[in-house]
């Protein structure tokens, strides 16, 4: 029988498996809900700053929801803070967020700090990853997912997005320089998390949405940075996925040019249309997080089954999950996998031991 780690890795690579895995990658798409925090005693905001609390919460998410992975951190502010942004840690039911940008002009980017992977919350995440990798090695063989913020989204945490978007037209070289510096830093951080024991790389770049940038600027600014990250970290990580928010239909061609086997989408993008237009990518997604918050287990199971029947390779939430989401709803999403496997008579793949 295939273990959870191999199942996820093969699914993200577009390979055949017995059934799709169900995951909550972490980062912006984490399932650290209040109920899980209360049951594990690992609470926000402490879990953002203490590696033991962070890993305990990640283990609790997996155990209580039934998701088939471990993932940290639980926010998108680690890199921004390390590079100089002011960040509030939020509270039990609201996530950390940026409260002050270190830059007021794109050309000032040399003032940014480098991410020091051995200190601050970058080190917290690395240590949590190593604790999780250790825990997973003890029999569960769960995949540990390292979550990085995508270059463009990180840029919008370091400077007011309106200034950044304007500069794309007026000072494009400065924007390229800023993004190159950011990308270098993300690659370093990604290497540190890999050394700590992470198996799968997830890059979430919600601000690189095709709806916001359009195809031309996505291709000019977002795509090369994402691809450089994927190239330089790609061979080291066993599998990788990229999450981009918003309607992707304007940038289907550019999505096809991403150097990743798997693309994670939110609920406004149609799975069927994405698969039709970008046939060689495994699709990760896209159970509505609003439904997870407000729906009941039956409706959530139905929505998850719909995603699976539309052909997602990996079942995952579509977007950020409210900390007030009921645990039973997340459990219903996880259980949908079994219903699907039973109902669809998925052909059992012949698994080679070295695969």
């Amino acid at each position: 029988m295939i273990n959870a780690r191999d199942r996820l890795i093969r699914s993200l690579q577009g390979g055949l498996v017995d059934r799709p895995p169900v995951i909550s990658p972490g980062g912006m798409m984490n399932m650290a809900i209040v109920q899980v925090m209360e049951q594990t005693g690992a609470l926000w905001p402490e879990a953002h700053c203490n590696p033991r609390t962070m890993s305990r919460l990640a283990l609790g998410v997996q155990r209580l929801t039934g998701m088939e992975n471990l993932g940290v951190p639980f926010c998108m502010t680690v890199e921004a803070e390390a590079m100089g942004a002011a960040v509030t840690m939020g509270g039990l039911d609201n996530e950390p967020r940026v409260t002050g940008y270190p830059l007021t002009a794109v050309a000032d980017w040399p003032r940014l700090q480098e991410i020091r992977t051995g200190s601050g919350r970058a080190a917290v995440v690395a240590e949590a990853v190593s604790l999780l990798a250790e825990a997973a090695a003890g029999g569960s063989e769960l995949p540990v997912i390292a979550n990085l913020t995508g270059p463009l989204s990180l840029a919008t945490s370091l400077i007011e997005p309106m200034i950044l978007f304007r500069a794309m037209g007026k000072q494009s070289q400065a924007v390229h320089d800023l993004l190159a510096f950011i990308t270098d830093n993300l690659i370093n951080f990604g290497r540190a998390l890999l050394q700590a024991g992470a198996h799968v790389l997830s890059i979430a770049d919600p601000s690189a949405s095709g709806e916001i940038l359009g195809p031309r600027r996505f291709a000019e600014f977002a795509l090369p940075c994402l691809n450089r990250m994927l190239d330089e970290l790609g061979t080291a990580y066993q599998a990788r996925l990229v999450h981009i928010c918003g309607q992707l239909s304007p940038i289907f061609t550019e999505i096809g040019a991403l150097h990743t086997g798997a693309i994670s989408i939110d609920s406004v993008t149609s799975i069927a249309r994405l698969r039709e237009n970008v046939p060689d990518k495994a699709v990760v997604g896209n159970v509505s997080t609003h439904l997870l918050l407000n729906g009941d287990p039956d409706r959530i199971a139905a929505a998850a089954l719909h995603c699976l029947r539309q052909g997602v390779a990996v079942l995952a939430p579509a977007c950020g999950i409210s900390p007030r989401t009921p645990l039973v709803n997340l459990q219903a999403m996880a259980r949908a996998i079994e219903v699907f496997a039973d109902s669809e008579q998925v052909p059992l793949a012949v698994l080679e031991p070295d695969a």
Partner: protein
């Protein structure tokens, strides 16, 4: 210089993201004794509306729309000091902001921009705004319209809270409530009892006009 030509250059300057052209054409408008408000409405605003149409048809995206607005403001900066007081009309007031817990304000800023272009007086509360702050600002300004935005499904339910607070304050009847943002839909607007929803910034302005007109509110 022909009036039409100046207006066309104002329009083109904005639509084609050409700040210098917009500013130059604004100077020419003044030099040719064109009323400032004509140059603004029939030149600059027309250009911004064309930009809005290109945005809707996905030829333009957010960066382009921002560059168009820069060109518009370059022209406005030159023209607005010359608006005759009598030319100014009373404007409908809008309170706008992003829900508490959310710092994504790109969409909100676009809506604000397009509302201003269309002649609304906009009170922008920024982001991370509590329902109580929205209601307090509506009360303070006597705004006809409240616009709330969020990109995060985690914060959208606070919109319903704000609407209930408007009711408690006795302001619901006189305030048109519109909502928008990534996870928002018409169905969600109906669910929480908002008056209107729009998918994008240009749609929001049309919907705002339609809703206010249907309430018989004096607009412009």
């Amino acid at each position: 210089m022909a009036v039409e030509e100046i207006l066309e250059r104002l329009t083109r300057g904005v639509r084609d993201m050409d700040e210098e052209l917009a500013a130059e054409a604004a100077q020419d408008a003044l030099a040719n004794q064109m009323p400032a408000l004509t140059a603004i409405n029939d030149g600059l605003v027309r250009g911004m509306n064309e930009a809005g149409r290109l945005y809707e048809t996905q030829e333009y995206f957010v960066p382009e729309l921002l560059l168009c607005s820069d060109a518009m403001y370059a022209g406005l900066g030159i023209l607005s000091p010359h608006i005759q007081r009598a030319e100014e009309e009373s404007r409908a007031k809008v309170v706008i902001g992003v829900m508490q817990g959310d710092t994504h304000d790109i969409g909100k800023n676009l809506v604000k921009l397009m509302l201003e272009v269309d002649g609304f007086e906009v009170f922008d509360l920024g982001r991370d705004v509590t329902p109580a702050d929205f209601v307090a600002k509506v009360k303070e300004t006597g705004a006809e319209l409240l616009g709330m935005s969020t990109l995060m499904s985690t914060t959208m339910d606070a919109m319903g809270v704000a609407i209930r607070m408007l009711q408690q304050e006795g302001l619901r009847e006189q305030t048109t409530v519109m909502i928008g943002g990534g996870p928002i839909s018409q169905a969600f607007a109906d669910l929480i009892g908002a008056d209107g929803y729009a998918e994008n910034a240009t749609g929001a302005v049309r919907e705002a006009r339609r809703l206010l007109a249907s309430r018989g509110a004096a607009v412009r």
